[in-house]
């Protein structure tokens, strides 16, 4: 079962970028690139060597592996629907959040290591937005824990919830989907397609990476997106149909289509508005937590 779980997560991680590209292309009236083009791109990168700037230290070289490792470990904590996760223990909720944070910190340090003003700017932005989105993530994980009384994802989504918690679960899924946008650097927070260094957030931190290192960072990005999307899909599934065959496709469609549609029809935020955008997510998360708390106390307002 654990193997099936792992395979499903990998499939979700690979499918999401394809679905995003396909959605964008269709909305723009184009046929679009091959569904698995991102895999071919990464294969090309993996065959290349790496070039390092002379101003960087060993830290810079170590970071892609750390970043990829953190994303892969975080992925292992995530169950698909009612399947058990590969790694499961009490408190893996918190472990997931901070494994992701570890990767982020490593990348920020690497960006600072290059000494480039662009990358410094990107690092500072990433640090700010990371700090703001962390409370949102933790509050939602806390909500899920509160509703089910478990602190491990596997138990949490296997136990399922009572019908009256449906609203809290759906709202949690909504917040988690929004977090996918901020965490994977998508419009309206960031734009993965821009060539304008001054406006980038995530991309600018990776400007000095190439070849294998860049491939690692890209793969890590897919894993991170897949992990968070699956959490969102699991929350929806827990509300209506807690099965893996429902959760896995839902994760792909939920993230793939919503990201694709938003990227086609919306402009990016002004950078200063990003803080407001992310704080709004955090505020919503707090509201969801509070609602869940009230529901759990079974206070009936009459």
């Amino acid at each position: 079962m654990k193997i099936l779980n792992l395979l499903l997560i990998l499939a979700v991680a690979i499918a999401i970028p394809g679905v995003i590209n396909r959605t964008r292309a269709r909305l723009a009236g184009r046929r679009g690139i091959r569904f698995f083009q991102h895999l071919y791109d990464v294969r090309v990168l993996l065959r290349k060597g790496a070039v390092y700037s002379t101003t960087t230290s060993a830290l810079f070289r170590a970071v892609p592996s750390v970043y990829l490792g953190a994303a892969l470990v975080a992925m292992l904590f995530v169950p698909v629907g009612d399947l058990p996760a590969v790694l499961a223990f009490d408190g893996d909720l918190i472990a997931l959040a901070y494994t992701l944070a570890l990767g982020r910190t490593a990348l920020i340090l690497a960006a600072m290591d290059t000494g480039s003003p662009f990358e410094g700017m990107g690092a500072s932005r990433e640090a700010l937005y990371g700090a703001l989105s962390e409370p949102a993530l933790l509050l939602i994980l806390g909500t899920l824990a509160l509703l089910t009384g478990c602190t491990s994802f596997t138990d949490l989504f296997a136990v399922g919830c009572e019908g009256r918690y449906t609203i809290a679960l759906l709202l949690s899924a909504f917040v988690l989907t929004k977090l996918v946008f901020t965490e994977s650097g998508r419009v309206p927070v960031d734009d993965p397609r821009t060539h304008l260094e001054l406006t980038m957030i995530h991309e600018v931190m990776c400007l000095d990476y190439c070849g294998v290192d860049l491939a690692f960072i890209k793969i890590a990005g897919w894993c991170k997106t897949a992990a968070l999307s699956l959490l969102a899909a699991n929350a929806v599934a827990a509300a209506c149909c807690p099965n893996w065959w429902f959760a896995a496709p839902l994760a792909v469609v939920l993230t793939g289509c919503s990201v694709g549609v938003v990227e086609s029809t919306q402009a990016r935020n002004k950078l200063v508005r990003n803080t407001t955008f992310i704080l709004t997510i955090a505020a919503l998360a707090a509201l969801v937590f509070f609602t869940a708390y009230l529901l759990q106390l079974n206070i009936v307002l009459s």
């Binding site: 723009a28 003003p117 419009v187 086609s264 919306q266 200063v272």
Partner: protein
Amino acid sequence: MIRYYITDNTAAAIPLREIPEVSYADFYDDLCAKLAEPRYHLAHYFARPEEGRMRFYALLLDDDASQVLITSFATDYYDDTALPSLTACHPQVHPFERDIAERYGIRFDGMPWPKPLRFPFDRYDRRSTMDNYPFYTMEGGSLHEVNVGPIHAGIIEPGAFRFICSGEQVLHLEIALGYQHRGIEHAFETTANRLRQCCLAETVAGDSAVAHATAFVEAVEKLTGHERPAQLDRERAVALELERMAMQIADTGALSGDVSYQLGQVACEALRTMTINTTQAWCGNRFGKGLIRPHGTRFPLDAATSEMIRHNVAEIARRYNEVRQDIKSSPTLLARFEQCGVVTRDQMTELGGVGQAARSSGLMRDIRASHPWGVYAKHIRHESIVKRQGDVMARLMMRCREILQSADYIDRLLTIYEQKYADAPNPCAAPDYAAPLAPSSLSFGLVEGWRGETCHVLVTDAAGRIAACRIKDASLHNWAALALALRGEGISDFPICNKSFNLSYCGHDL
């Protein structure tokens, strides 16, 4: 009061001896007074060695009276007394004084920002190079500098931008150009081949090929003194307006792309292709190269081509209008564009801003209206569009309105054509590259390209050869406006501010 030779944008060339020569003191006083009024601005101000001394010419435009005032002064070749700088009173003189100082080592006393402009190969001071460009610096623990360029990530021309920032906020932006300098003015002077000169004019700025070619050809035709058929004027105006449409649509798309608004970007890219392909179907080149030639054309319009252009332009305008409505009604786009990169009318006036950027800030600068030539003096009474806000949105909306206006002009011009020449052959002759030029004369071509005022000044020697060609693209004035627009903005808004001006690097660097 100093004397000017008063002319307009349609009159013939001016013999050099008829241009009044005044003393620098008078020149300085009068220009100081005149440039304080917004009706006047400097179209060109350049120096050239002439008969053992340095002669300075200034072309002053009077927008209200549609007049071009030309005057000159001279200094002895070995006279190295510093001239009091006009830049100190009127920043719009700045690029011209920088150019004169850089080329000939003329010193301007009290010039507030004496910096090299474009590093020409025959500059006076060879020690001044791009590597030691004197960037402005600021001290402070909380400030940091960000240098972008000269090589950029996109497929754009080279130019160095240095930002002094406090966190994300830009305190100062300095733009150092000159990386594209090709010595194109010099190339005009070293060839007598008129066709080659026309081709050179088309390459001054690749995105304004028609505007620059028209300006050059206008100047040449004033020197030859022959009349040209009215139909030729019409065809040139159609080409110019097609170029305007294509570039404004491209910029709408680029602005949408820079804020990651995919639908606007792809729609405009498709429309721009349609526009430039229309030009290609007419003359074989998407940018209209080869179309504008003196005294004639190699691609006279026939009824079928005219019909095709009219049909395409109507379709483009209809589809573009939908994009425009989408942009105007999209809150995420408005949030990005409104109140971003504001340049006030006063700032624009002081800098001598021209073209669409000036009009977006409420400053009416439009050669088509103020100094009409060709069809703009006859068939079309051009009404300029003016916006007051001076922000990115205003510059974008200016583009949107101009596209629809240009489409209307093209339609009207071609309708005239089809009524008049439906059966009769087109009266345009083949180009004449051999017509002799008036000796020892000065002539200028002033054209409103899509970016703004484009000015070519030609000076001929006693044998009637082009001895000096001085080119000014609208970018020369407007780069400073971009630097001002960025003050106090977030550094991440630089790309959209830059794109909203879309200035030319090679048009500036020549």
